[in-house]
Symmetry: C2
Subunit: 155 residues, 2 copies
């Protein structure tokens, strides 16, 4: 019943020391996950990145495009493209920055929020599939460790 998008069984080469390199492990799991995620989001005309932007637009945090670029590890020009697309489809809007009128705040529309709710469900399902090999506790621990490695603290 559970067919993973990732390797079904340990490949021969995983025995090499490189099979423990964090860089490779991250690259592989990330690559495999992206396939699953993009597949799950395709029904909504979204991809991983546009979904991320939409999510943050729905978060109430009122992110600027610069913040989005920094947070998503993207070039500002890539954010422009992503927001252009979402705005064209009526899912988000560019609002003028409050303190800084150069900045543009990305906020979701009502339709954007509806779309996000549905897409979120699909993505969560894809995530479950990706981490099917881990117990619930292990999945939680993995996320905690990733967050801690990234920004130091757990919470």
């Amino acid at each position: 019943m559970a067919t993973l998008g990732t390797d079904v069984q340990t490949p021969r080469l995983a025995a090499a020391r490189i099979g423990s390199d964090v860089g490779l492990l991250l690259a592989k799991l990330h690559a495999a996950g992206s396939v699953l995620n993009n597949k799950a989001l395709a029904d909504f005309g979204l991809r991983e990145r546009s979904f991320s932007v939409l999510t943050l637009a729905c978060s109430g945090l009122e992110p600027t495009q610069r913040e989005l670029a920094d947070f998503l590890s993207l070039d500002p020009s890539q954010v422009v493209t992503l927001v252009d697309d979402l705005e064209r489809r009526g899912l988000v809007e560019r609002a003028q920055g409050k303190q800084d009128r150069r900045a543009k705040i990305i906020v979701s529309t009502a339709e954007g929020r509806k779309m996000h709710t549905k897409a979120r469900a699909a993505l969560d399902e894809a995530e479950l599939k990706q981490l099917a090999g881990l117990s619930d506790e292990e999945s939680q621990e993995l996320k905690r460790l990733l967050r801690k490695a990234l920004w130091g603290s757990a919470e």
Copy 2:
């Protein structure tokens, strides 16, 4: 003394629910790690991927290009380019497959192994830097979970 390549402190947007999405966490940590790794390997004229190929060529596992492509999640044509480069520099050689004469086995030269030893040291250092926020036990646990998520078993 410890300046991370990753975000120094938790960004504002991490508070959003997306800050717990595995896909995003993997993407960010992978992106940040790649920068560190490629920087560390640049002294040797290597990048993450060519280092991976060199490592596997040095592993004694005698991988074929097809196996490299599968294991590294690359298109076979990308492996051709990577091996071309390493072979041109005298670090690896293409040997004829033993059972299958279509396949080519990638093996390291003596010079390749010397290069690999030095590059490995640099990479391990970069990895330490990337996971500086985690204790040794946590780093081990992270690797274990990544391996398990990828190929099911821990070992």
